[in-house]
Amino acid sequence: MDIIAVKNLYFTYADGGEALRNINLAIPRNQIFVLFGPSRAGKSTLMRLFNRLSDLSENATHQGNVLIDGNDVFEPGTDVYDLRRRISMVFAVPTPLPGSIYDNLTYGLRMSGMRDRAEMNRRVERSLQQAALWDEVKDRLKTSAFALSGGQKQRLCLARSLALEPDVILLDNPTSGLDPLSTATVEESLYELKRRYTIVMVPHSVQQAARVADQAAFMLDGEVIEVDSADKLFIHPKSKRTEDYITGRFG
């Protein structure tokens, strides 16, 4: 079964602006699934519905279903805090919380009620290694997370999500502010990560989408225009609009 399935999903903001229209998607496990398209296409809005961060947009309305492992996230009994730990989001602007690197990495765990120090230490080390940050920070885990460089902060935020051992990682343009070298570091770690996790990502550019994606969906004005495996979609797109976008004719 696909880990995420979206069926006939509509989403409208409080001001009446329709952000998503009739979205249908199936995201398989252990792949990098890329949502790409011009700005205001609804990519981030769609990702935020996967773990109900969309709840933060007051008075927004939705129709249709978002199924995680077959369970609708909008079912009344859903444990939304648990959902957000399982479907964990990394934001475009790397935002450490006030406190040390260690505090950041264990924040989600502590909030879930974990008290086991040894388990937390194990997860801190493992998530930092997975995010390719361990060697740079292992001697200063108790120092402020704000002292890290931009690229390190973004990997810290990735590690902070990984420490939760989620099923899905949502990456909203995770390399937006990074230099090419840091971007390469993050991209490389993604290939490792998809063996363990499912990754849904809004890429920085079409080039990045083509580099990292297993499957990709092209979005435009709140609709999914085309979904296909990356091999097909970036080489022989079916839709004229997809082709125009990836060849740089608009966007």
Partner: protein, 281 residues
């Protein structure tokens, strides 16, 4: 005239105007120190008044004001912070919050003597506390609430939105987010507002006039249901009600009260500066 010249003239004018604002406060403080410093000594600070209050010290009034300030904090702080959290994080904009805000604006505008009368009716008589520290603290606490609520709400709203989003995205509940992220970061602002509110409460005479203040009570209060002397009321008494009062004792009392209130203000700015420096973003 060149732009540089107009710029320079504007700066000069603003500097002078700002200096003029500072002059009255320096004169007030300077005059009180000049007139009162001779009375302030160890005996003055540690002894009870003697001989119809014309001799001895003002120790019971100092202790009373400290107790009342603490009592005000105990009453006002939890209520104000809870209200501020509710307004900033939960309430949104609806009929209830509009009423709460309207109430706050009006509370802030009520003359302090009216608080005093209200405290007499509600706490001294109706609740049956009598003229007591608890009645006075409740009255002063309610009086300081509007300013503490609005400064706390501002401090809470000033915490950047992304910290809330990140905390929630890591599976924290709304309350956990408030407790672990918002309140620690808003604390300098909340404490500053609180201490400034207490500074005002410490110097007020009217709210304590009917609710707690004793004309002359050389021994210290034994419980929160006792009366106590307090500096502002004592000052009022010795300035207007006691014939043959040495001027130096009046101004000495004023100086002690001024020192107490100014040190609260000073603590507020130290707290703010220190905690701001701890902050990393």
């Amino acid at each position: 005239m060149t732009r540089q010249q107009t710029h320079r003239i504007a700066i000069t004018v603003m500097t002078i105007v700002s200096a003029i604002v500072v002059i009255p406060i320096i004169m007030v403080i300077g005059y009180v120190i000049w007139m009162g410093i001779s009375a302030v000594n160890w005996e003055f600070l540690t002894q009870a008044p003697r001989n119809g209050m014309t001799e001895g010290g003002i120790m019971p009034a100092i202790v009373g004001t400290v107790i009342l300030t603490l009592g005000t904090a105990i009453v006002s702080m939890p209520l104000s912070i809870a209200t501020a959290i509710y307004l900033a994080e939960y309430a949104g904009d609806n009929r209830v919050t509009r009423w709460v805000r309207l109430a706050m604006v009006n509370l802030a505008g009520i003359p302090s003597i009216v608080y005093g009368l209200f405290g007499l009716g509600a706490f001294v008589l109706f609740a049956g506390f009598g003229t007591s520290i608890i009645a006075g603290s409740l009255t002063l606490g309610i009086m300081t609430m509007p300013v503490v609520i609005s400064t706390s709400e501002e401090a809470i709203l000033a915490v950047p939105q992304q910290f809330r989003t990140v905390s929630l995205s890591l599976g924290a509940s709304k309350w956990q987010t408030i407790w672990h992220q918002i309140l620690p970061q808003a604390l300098p602002g909340i404490l500053t507002g609180m201490i400034l509110g207490l500074g005002r409460a410490a110097g007020e005479t009217a709210p304590i006039l009917f609710t707690v203040a004793a004309f002359y009570l050389p021994q210290l209060p034994q419980s929160i249901f006792d009366q106590t002397m307090a500096l502002p009321y004592h000052l009022y008494v010795i300035a207007t009600q006691v014939p043959g009062m040495p001027v130096s004792i009046q101004y000495g009392t004023a100086l002690v009260l001024l020192g107490f209130v100014l040190s609260l203000t000073l603590i507020a700015s130290l707290v703010r500066t220190f905690m701001r420096r701890q902050r990393e973003w």
